[in-house]
Symmetry: C2
Subunit: 319 residues, 2 copies
């Protein structure tokens, strides 16, 4: 099928925003913003970020969610999306139809709408990229770099579900974790409001909790202390080694939020009102590096901990 | 090299917009718009839109220009860009450095700035996608659908340079056309002003002049008459068969502009003031379909004319 026909048949019907002009034009007119607008783009590659046999609906869900988590972490709500679809010739047309339907459903669930995109033939494997805008709920986006020493560090939801899903799939087991690997569970959209109102800094957890927490702390000019025993691990953690594994694998797409200790009660109250599980797992320090505690004792960071790019190895404080 | 390090080493230095936060954050804050903002995204795939051996600088130039032509055709000026880079493991790091440098130079030449993106490993070949915003110079973007019967149809620059480049390369010849295939020549940025002030409808020529002209006419609820002998072919056209070939191949990235006959003098004057070559090649008709004339006589549209997806075959008016 020709590229233009794909758009006409499968993507144009998803489009209702007047600025998108039914995807028939060269550009889309963006919505008039009520406040500051943030934008992000995240790509996914077959064989790297998902497997060829993964359900195509979950691929669409994951594509949207990995972008949504970035928007929420900025204290913004998803707004408009543009899709780049590199579709291989050996994927069937019914699969494309299912992908488009799942994408539309998922975007709508976040209050976002497709306004444009491009479809091309990709010789080898499926290549996806989504650009997503978000409307800031506050006067400016929440950044990684706004935390102060002494701020509490919070994380939403659970950490490690994707890692467990990866291990289950590797062992040939089906489990709810496999589904959460294929399409991560995100906090609700309303979490953006909590971030906008209470966070001094925030980011999503995509490259592993410990490394990401250190990134946030470094961007804020400090370091971080994390209590491993307070991290809400999916399925619990049977011992420190497993906890470290789950805390460093990534693909969680939960929110990491720094907030002043004076906001502590409000964080708990707002999260409760939203039905948002949230856990206080540590604090920002003035000194650089990561201090990891377990039941009050310092944890030796093993060389084998698989932080992305060995960043921890370069900058972690060791006892 | 790890993905995060690519961004840090090669893309972050290109970024100066304050909203981009040095590409260290999850989202970029978009510029506060002075007027309506349009957005577009176009992807390019190795082996489909460019060849593995094409100079990497021209790949970066083409990536920017295929998006810029969409923005200009909407009567808007390029503003902010997000890059999705699927880089294969077998491409060298110096090539990545050259790509980034060429991208920065090209964006700057259009007054645009990189504010975000994502880099991933692509197992097979280079996959590129750019999202580009544009600031409308008028109160609304110029669309394909605004032309009226009787409007003049204009085209900027030359048509067929990419086709000639393709044929030259196929024949093992190097020529200036090969360079124009690898990195299309665009009208100057100021052409956006002419579009905003005088066009009733506009689009860029990417899928072949005749098919694109018909698309514009159809979106405007009419048809189109084109005088083949008035089309400014790159290198001229030796006969009707060659003219038809050049007028249907695509990759021109020039602007197709409809304007009222009462604007005819102003179009010529403004184009002259901009140093913008522009040619009046036909007119919009009330009746659907394409009427092609050559030296005043009707041209039979041969079945073999390679319009994209056979669209002409479905909808052309034949004598």
């Amino acid at each position: 099928m020709a590229e233009r026909d794909w758009i006409k048949r499968y993507l144009a019907p998803l489009v209702s925003a007047p600025g998108a002009a039914g995807l028939t034009d060269d550009t889309a007119l963006m919505a008039t913003p009520a406040g500051p607008v943030v934008i992000t783009t995240d790509a996914m590659v077959e064989g790297v970020h998902f497997l060829p046999a993964d359900p195509i609906a979950s691929v669409a869900q994951k594509l949207v969610r990995v972008n949504v988590s970035d928007i929420l972490s900025s204290g913004a709500e998803p707004c408009e999306a543009l899709l780049t679809l590199g579709w291989p010739a050996d994927r069937s047309e019914p699969e494309l139809a299912r992908f488009a339907a799942a994408l539309a459903t998922e975007l709508a669930a976040w209050g976002a709408t497709l306004i444009g995109g491009d479809t091309v033939v990709n010789p080898a494997g499926l290549f996806l990229s989504l650009t997503l805008t978000g409307t800031c709920l506050g006067p400016a986006p929440v950044r990684r770099g706004g935390a102060s020493a002494g701020d509490d560090l919070w994380v939403t939801g659970e950490i490690g579900a994707a890692r467990r899903g990866f291990l289950d799939r590797d062992a040939g087991q089906s489990s709810s974790f496999v589904a959460r690997l294929q399409a991560p569970e995100l906090p609700p959209k309303a979490a953006a409001g909590l971030v906008a109102r209470l966070a001094t800094a925030a980011m999503d957890v995509s490259d592993g909790l410990l490394g990401d927490a250190l990134s946030l702390a470094e961007a804020s000019g400090g370091g971080v202390e994390i209590n491993l025993d307070q991290v809400p691990f999916a399925g619990g953690a049977a011992g420190q080694a497993e906890a470290l594994d789950l805390a460093t694998w990534g693909d969680d797409y939960q929110l990491l939020i720094a907030a002043a200790p004076t906001s502590r009660d409000r964080v708990v109250q707002e999260a409760e009102a939203l039905g948002l599980p949230i856990s206080r797992i540590g604090r920002i320090r003035a000194e650089a590096g990561l201090v990891l505690l377990d039941q009050g004792g310092r944890v030796n960071l093993p060389e084998t901990v698989a932080f992305e790019h060995g960043r921890i190895g370069l900058s972690a404080t060791r006892p």
